[in-house]
Symmetry: C2
């Protein structure tokens, strides 16, 4: 498909529905294009003609004399389709449909939107919207403000996609206040054609877009999103606020955008596996953007705090520890150096407390000194107003040192008046400044996440030798009978075909068959009678466990027969199941769950009586990379149980990972698998093997 | 002890160390007192005399002609003691010692501080500080700004205690920007005499203090804090930021204030049991204060959102659900009413989306309508800038409706420019306005916490009939032998004396003794041999379980004797332990842990193999109220295991609670108990009884 150049870097724009009436979208768009100084040509189009923003309006786009790259359409929804026909006739390839009244407005609107998309595809166009706020590109050679937000854009390094139009406008206002600029902005609206995936793909190679921010309520094509994002996040950070986390929120999102929101577990997995940094509030999203704009990635996670007040130093320390980052251990040289100029009452341990009376010079020397410490990866400089030391002077001094030492991230916590923040929002600051310690640490934590993501291998999708034909046969057989649910035997059979280590078992009709089976399976074994007449096996001694030799098995078999004979129950006996005896004090669960929006997910966690209570489980989207599987197993608390805690045999963790990868392969080969549970997946006390003792598979018919 | 009136409401103040030199504390304090218009008399004292802020300085406080209620001391620390002597001579009863160089500065300073406190006590004075920022009272008849923060105070309803001086100053600045005023401020500094407890006790009956905010790094007297706070929080909310949550943070706090910080688990428990709302950042602390200032407590937790943009509505919904509050279900009448005036594209379900074009009138009518809905307890009004509708007009309209409907909390989320927030910070707003949805929900969640605390009974400290003498004897015996650790038998003995249901057991030397014991204990029983020569009991069949009758027991006893004789091991046999057999699939743990700073805590949680991994445990400070115990048991995830999940026998939860209360009584009676573990506390599969199967007690010698 064509790139978004025609839309994002047009040489000429027709505004169809441009208006002379103030405070209308058709007027505002014209005004913004004009005020921001669009470098190309604008052609207002209005059936009534008239002069708009000093330009004579054309009554029809076909009358426009020159070539037109892009049309911004703000006419009533019922005229949109015919307008698109005209655009096609004019040879226009880029559309931004601002008009509302499509999918968001119900069934009729949805039908109209389908028509719109059909035309866009048919004419080889690309289209932003409908029901959107417009697009912005602040590139000096473009300078296109093609949206109707309240304020003119500020140039910066962000590519920003908003799924909510009004919210997008609100955000542009706030960004301006925060002194955060952006490179490009796309309000995707109903995303009939262009969606978030298109935007991030376009921005992958736009050099002036250094970071990508997303506000999303749904993800249209999760697999495509993952494919793109996991590649692009290795080049530039993607920060996403995905709203609709709660069930109620998701339901509100659905009614808002008409899109299926999917479960948040799946969204969480998708973003994590794609290396996207998830934010949980706009405030946090903006804080992070500020930090990414002004900081290099750190080399590690050791943070040093310098401060003129103990309190905020402690709060920052708390936040650093809560994020699992490290407090830098300053070298003896650094401490000696600090001691040489700081007063006796100062603390030269991290947090370095220069005490309230610290003059500007101490800020400068202290920052320079800790930056030079090889044990320090990042620095937080805290300032509280104190007699005569001006905030802005401290800020400037810090930025000067930053210019000389650009290699380590430095953030400022200035617990000072709003005045200071207004002042710096007008300046070209090179350090992110925050009012509160926690915000600064949040930001550093995000830098650290991005660092870890950059260091994390991409991973591969391993393919194991499996018996796909055998699994296919089992599925086919069930399908032939119209059964969605496979029997336990069938389920274990499929798992076995896919190389999952299942508990060995077989059926025997006689003592000799039982012994032969047990010899094949290996001792100890369990024997369970199966009978048409006796369902409560245990009551009649029908379950014998832990038989560790042929001799014991034979004795037990004979004893069972004898007991049943005595009780007159022998007639109903069909035979016995001989099963490998797995001694295990550790039960896990794993499986496959299908999210209607995001597709199949692999689940892993703690099993047994606690699964419902402790909810110690994790989900990743299939297919899993080997790295995904590695991380999944380690991300649950129960992982400690696998490593040999309390004198248990360490589990064969590699095999547990392999089990997950085999499930991933299974559901990739058979997308019709709707649910699969291995419960329990027992860890053998004997040798740490992971053994599927029970299984259940459900398919989509 | 005397109240703080002399300090907080003085009629006359001597500033000892007042200075003519600008940008010194001695100059700034004088300036602030003057500028803010102190209603009483100020006497500057400086050995060199001179005119300070238009007042002739006295060279010594004894020269001051009139009566002096309070002295603010800013002289060098080495002159502080003699200054206090002079103050005493002058009859001054209130001191604010701003001078640093005391406990925070090392051993010498600590000694000086001890001297200071001695004098204060001896002279019957009260003292704020040393090493503090000062005190403020904005009461119109007082108007005392006795601190050296950058800005003059704003009148409001907050009583604010800060343990960190510099931080306190920073906070005062920010509060002013936020338009948050306060009634009184005390910078407690090293809290030699007056601490946070004194402040909250003083404010309990100060009518203009409607809410109390604390910034603390340590709590001096946790028991006293709890006693006071749990009473005062029933009258007015106390919000606390307790820094030093992490180990590194606590260590930083210790070096900062020289005080022992204690473990955060204990601090968390103390605040929770006292009804104090804990905040985790200053930003959150301020947001909450804004909400408490302008909102009544809600009647329930059902929130309604009205918005002109879907996105922030979804984000607010997510936050509401994450706090465990409810999305209000609007009545059919409300929906019909909303439908009567909102456009077709609007959503009349909660969140009510009035769509972007909503005029002022829709805000007014929608807010009035949802406020009238009996299913709505709280309302969030969201506004995003849209063509021509001004933020300030919407804010005013909302406040007008609020004036007519003061009974339900209303908060505003205005995703608009900082300009708006600057403008309203100058106004007397009656609704808290936030820029982001999450902040507003945070605030409502705190209102809801306070509501729940108000509805929560105070609880009582039950006293059970116990055999204290018997427990004393056990402790005495161990002490006599110099043993800190009690044996299992002694530990269970103490628990038994305190009415904890312990696993019944006894020692038998013969078959007859064994049978007699088993008959007393009740079947089924376990029999364990004890031998001087055989330590691996199980290897020689020395452990027999699940014996459910005298017959079985006798058979097993004889069989054991026979087996030992055969193996030549009979000689070493001492006898057998006969023990009640507890069948249980659910193991809990409970116990006592002693925090060096906060004192004994009661612990409860999930036991067994998972205790170390899942960390599903909770702590409360002793003594427990019945309500504390009730809540503890329900606060762990494992609680679900007690209620009969998966077909198990429901546990006798009341008895579990009683067990915790008995432990609380035990450690109250015997504060020398340093550690106590009941592990496991088994829940009997048979009847749900909670039975202490193993116990361990350690005492402080």
């Amino acid at each position: 498909m064509a790139s978004l150049d025609k839309i994002m870097k047009p040489k000429s724009i027709a505004v169809i529905g441009a208006s002379t009436k103030p405070h209308t979208i058709g007027s505002d768009i014209m005004k913004r294009l004009n005020e921001y100084g669009f470098k190309g040509t604008v052609y207002p189009v209005n059936p009534k003609g008239g002069v708009i923003e000093g330009l004579q309006a054309y009554t029809n786009v076909l009358e426009v004399p020159g070539e037109v790259d892009m049309a911004i359409i703000v006419v009533n929804s019922k005229f949109v389709l015919s307008t698109i026909d005209q655009c096609n006739e004019k040879g226009i390839k880029g559309l931004v449909v601002i008009s509302a009244g499509f999918k968001e407005a119900g069934a009729e609107g949805a039908a109209l939107e389908a028509e719109l998309l059909k035309k866009v595809r048919q004419y080889g166009m690309r289209c932003v919207g409908p029901n959107c706020l417009g697009v912005v590109n602040t590139l000096p050679e473009v300078r296109m403000d093609g949206c109707f937000a309240e304020t003119l854009p500020v140039r910066g390094d962000i590519g920003f996609v908003s799924q909510s139009g009004a919210l997008g406008g609100g955000i542009l206002n706030i960004l301006k206040d925060l002194g955060i600029g952006f490179a490009q902005f796309i309000s995707i609206g109903n995303q009939a054609d262009i969606n978030a995936e298109d935007a991030i793909e376009y921005w992958e190679n736009e050099d002036d877009v250094k970071q990508i921010l997303l506000y999303m309520e749904s993800i249209q094509n999760p697999a495509n999103f993952r494919r793109l994002a996991s590649r692009i996040t290795k080049k530039k950070p993607i920060l996403a606020l995905k709203a609709g986390r709660s069930a109620a929120g998701a339901s509100a999102a659905s009614s808002h955008t008409g899109s299926l929101a999917g479960s948040d577990k799946a969204a969480e997995a998708l973003l994590r596996q794609s290396g996207v940094i998830r934010e949980y509030s706009l405030e946090q999203l903006f804080s992070t953007a500020k930090v990414f704009k002004n900081c290099p990635l750190p080399k590690g996670d050791r943070v040093c705090i310098i401060t003129n007040s103990g309190g905020p130093g402690i709060m920052a320390t708390d936040a650093i520890c809560e994020y699992g980052m490290q407090m830098a251990q300053l070298t003896e040289e650094t401490k000696a150096e600090l001691r040489s100029f700081l007063p006796a009452a100062a603390s030269v341990k991290n947090p370095v407390d220069m005490i309230a009376s610290a003059p500007l010079e101490h800020y400068q020397k202290t920052l320079t000194t800790v930056l030079a410490d090889p044990n320090v990866d990042m620095v937080i400089s805290i300032y509280l107003p104190f007699l005569g030391l001006r905030d802005i002077d401290v800020a400037k001094a810090l930025m000067q040192i930053k210019a000389e030492h650009p290699e380590k991230p430095i953030v400022g916590v200035f617990m000072t008046k709003n005045e200071f923040f207004s002042a710096i929002s007008e300046m070209d600051v090179t350090i992110p400044f925050f009012q509160f310690a926690e915000e600064a640490v949040d930001g550093l934590a995000r830098l650290n996440m991005q660092r870890k993501w950059m260091e994390r291998p991409m991973g591969t999708f391993p393919r194991y030798e499996v018996d796909q034909t055998r699994a296919q046969a089992v599925f086919d057989a069930a399908k032939a009978e119209g059964r969605a649910e496979l029997t336990t035997r069938e389920s274990l059979d499929v798992l076995d075909a896919y190389g999952v280590r299942v508990c060995r078992a077989g059926f025997a009709r006689s003592e000799e068959e039982a012994v032969a089976l047990a010899n094949k399976i290996g001792y100890p074994v369990v024997m369970k009678m199966t009978s048409k007449t006796t369902s409560h096996k245990t009551d009649v001694g029908g379950v014998r466990v832990n038989m560790d030799s042929e001799e014991t098995l034979r004795a037990n078999y004979r004893d069972l027969i004898e007991k049943l004979r005595e009780k007159g129950l022998l007639e109903g006996l069909e035979g016995v199941i001989i099963q490998e005896m797995v001694k295990s004090s550790r039960e896990l669960v794993c499986g496959i769950a299908d999210d209607p929006q995001y597709g199949p997910m692999i689940m892993f966690g703690l099993g047994g009586v606690f699964v419902e209570v402790m909810k110690d489980v994790t989900f990743n989207l299939a297919p899993l990379t080997d790295i995904d599987a590695h991380e999944m197993v380690r991300s649950v608390k129960a992982y400690k149980l696998l490593t040999g805690a309390r004198g248990t045999t360490p589990a064969d963790v590699a095999k547990v990972e392999e089990t997950l990868l085999r499930l991933s392969q299974l559901v990739t080969d058979f997308p019709s698998v709707a649910e699969l549970d291995i419960n329990p997946l027992m860890i053998s006390d004997k040798n740490g093997e992971a053994i599927a003792v029970d299984g259940r598979i459900k398919v989509k018919l």
